[in-house]
Amino acid sequence: MSEQESENIGKVFKNAIEEISMAPPNGVWESLRMLAIQTQLARYKGFTTWLSFYSSIITILLGGAIYLLLLKNSESPATKILYKNQLVNIHDYDTIFVDRVKYVYVKEKNDAVSEDISTQNLANNSEVSNDDNHGNRNQLFNTNPKLLADDQTFTLKNKDSQHSNNNISTSSGESVNLINSNSESISPQIVRMTLKKLDYKPVNGYFNLPKIAYHQSNKTNPDITIEKPEKPKIPLMNRIAISAFYSPEYSNLTVYRSEPEAFNYGNEQIAHSNSYGLRASIDINPKLSISTGIEWANIQFASSIRKFPIQAELVNGKATYLYKTVFGVATIPTEEMTTVPAIGNPITLESEDEHTVGFIRLPLSLQYNAFQWKLKKGGRNQRYLSLYGSGGISYNLPSHQKLAVEIYEADGHDYYTTLGNFKNTQSFWAYNLAFGAAIDLTHNASFWIEPNYNKTIDSFVRDLPLKSYIHNLGVRFGVKWHF
C-alpha cells in the first residue's frame, strides 16, 4: 500500500465518521444528574452562608441604631430631672471698680469739709453706662474688677446673692464710702456701692446658667401658680396620610428540598421583581405612626432552557401531564393533543417565555421618626427632612401565575398553550424591615425613599416535597399626602 493510498483510507474514515452521531447510553445522564444536583446543593449552601452573613450585618446595624435611639431618649429625661428638683443657691461677691472723673465744688476757703454724698446722689451722679454694667454681668462669677475708662473708681460688693431661675436678688448692706480729699485739686475718688444701689439688672443669658422651666421654679413660691399649657390637639384628619409607591426589587428564592422527589421540581431563578402599592398611615404621636395598605408584587423568573420530557402521571385515576415548579404544579391541558395521554407516553415541554408570579400583600407596619431637620427656617412653608425606621408584617395572597409553553407530542404534533392554573400554592406571611428618608415637597406632600428587606415566613407552596421562600431587597420610591 502506497503512502497516498494510506492517507486516502484515513480521510475516508474521517469524512464518514465525523458527521454521524449516536444516542448515548441511558445510564450516563442519571449518573451525571447526581453531579448536577450536588452542584446545585453546593450553590444553595453557599447562598445560605451569604444570606446568614448579610442578615447578621443587618441585625447588628438595626440593633445598634435602636440602642442609640433608646440611649438618647433615656438620657434626656434624666437631665431635666436634675434641674427640676434642685434650687440653686449661689452666694457670690462681686467687686466692680469704676474709674471716673468727678468735679466737686470745693469752698474757696481752705476749711476741711467732710462731704457726705448720699448713695442716691452718687448713683445719680455716677455715669456708669448700661453697656458697662452688661460687661460686668458677664464676669459676675469671676469677681474680676472691671476698670472703666473714666478716672473714678467704684468698688461694689455683692454678697449673699440668692440666685434662682431668672432672677438674682441682692441683699447687701454695705455702706458706701466716699473718700474725698480736702485738697482743692481734683483727684480720682473711690466710691463703694452695691449692685442693688446701682440699679443692677442682670440678664440671665449672660450667666451661663442651666435653663430651668418656669413651672418648676414656681415651686419655690407657692403663691404663684402657672398652669401647664395644654398640648395642642391635632385633629384626627390631620394625622392621616396616604401614599403611593413603586419599588424595584432584587429577589431571590430559597428552596428546601426534603426528599429526592423534590428534585423533580423545577429550578426556577428569579430574574426581576417589583412591587407597587398604596398605603394609609395614621400618626399615633409625633414620633410614631402605623400604616397599612395594599401592594401588588410581581416576580419574573429567569428564562431558562426548558425543553424536557414529561411523563404522564396518574391523578385521580386519569393520566395527566404535570408541569412541576417550585411555585406550584400546573396541569398541562390535553384538549389540543393528537395523542392519547397514557402512562409511558411522554410529551416534551418547551418554555421560552418568562414565567411570572404575582401576589397581593396586605402590610401592617410601625414607623418611628428618628430625626427631623428643618430645611427652610421661618415663613409659612417650612420644609423638613426626616429619617425613620419601620418594621412590620404582611399577609401575601397569590394572585396570578402564568407561563406560555410549547408542547411536543410523540407523533410530531406540537401546539402552544398557556399554563395558569398552578396549584399547591398558599397564602403566606412575611416580615419587612426598612429605613427611609422623607422630604417635604409642599405643605401637604412629601417624597420618600425607603430601602427595605422583605422575607417570607411561610412557604409559598404546600403539600409538596419542597418549601419555597422568597426574600428581597428593594428601594421604595413614594409620594405621601398629609391631610
Binding site: E7, G10, I20, S21, M22, W29, R33, N267, Q269
Partner: protein
C-alpha cells in the same frame, strides 16, 4: 431557543435543567468520539460519563474562545488519553504484526457507498489500542507525529509506522467487508 452562552451561564449557577440541556445537546456527537477511542460500548460509556463530569466541573474555565463543542471534544480526548495511559502497561505496541497481505486499493466512493459510517466506526474499534489511539489523534484530532509521540510516550518513528499499519489494517478490514457485501 436560548443561546449557548445562556446555557453555560445557567449551568454555572447550578441549574440542573441547563446541565440536562447541555448534555443532551452534545452527548450524541461525543458518543461517537468515545466509541472511536474505545474497544467496546461499555468503555465508550465510561469515557462519555467521565468526560462530561470534567466538562461540568471545569465549565467555568471555558472562556468563550473557539467552539464550545470543540472544547468538550478536547476534554473527551484528554480523558481517552488518560484511560489509555492507565492501561498502557497491559498493552504491547507491536501486538499485531503488520504482515497483512497486500490489499487492492478501494476507492473512497466505493467505501462510502457500500459501507455505512457506523460500520466504519466499528472497524476503528477493532484496531489495537495503540493503533487506534494514533489513528484517531492523527486523522481526527489533527495531531502531528511529534505531539502523538509526546502524548503516548513513544518515538515519532513508532507513531508513523503504527499509523501506517493502522491504515493498512483498516483497508484490509474494509476489503473483507466489501467482499462480504458483494457476496
Amino acid at each position: 431557543m436560548k443561546t449557548q452562552s445562556e446555557i453555560i451561564k445557567r449551568c454555572l449557577k447550578g441549574d440542573e435543567n441547563a446541565f440536562s440541556t447541555l448534555y443532551h445537546q452534545y452527548a450524541s456527537k461525543m458518543m461517537v468520539v468515545c466509541i472511536r477511542y474505545s474497544h467496546d460500548r461499555e468503555e465508550a460509556k465510561d469515557l462519555l460519563q467521565e468526560g462530561f463530569i470534567r466538562v461540568f466541573q471545569h465549565l467555568n474555565q471555558f472562556k468563550g474562545e473557539g467552539s464550545f463543542e470543540g472544547w468538550i471534544k478536547r476534554i473527551i480526548v484528554n480523558v481517552a488519553l488518560e484511560f489509555y495511559r492507565k492501561n498502557t502497561n497491559q498493552r504491547h505496541i507491536n501486538e499485531i504484526a503488520s504482515d497483512y497481505e497486500e490489499q487492492h486499493p478501494i476507492s473512497s466512493e466505493d467505501i462510502l457507498s457500500n459501507i455505512h459510517a457506523r460500520d466504519l466506526l466499528n472497524l476503528v474499534q477493532k484496531l489495537p489500542p495503540t493503533y487506534r489511539m494514533i489513528f484517531n489523534l492523527y486523522e481526527f484530532e489533527g495531531f502531528k507525529h511529534q505531539e502523538i509521540a509526546k502524548q503516548l510516550g513513544i518515538s515519532e518513528g513508532t507513531s508513523k509506522s503504527n499509523l501506517f499499519d493502522a491504515r493498512k489494517i483498516l483497508q484490509r478490514l474494509v476489503s473483507e467487508m466489501m467482499k462480504e457485501i458483494k457476496h
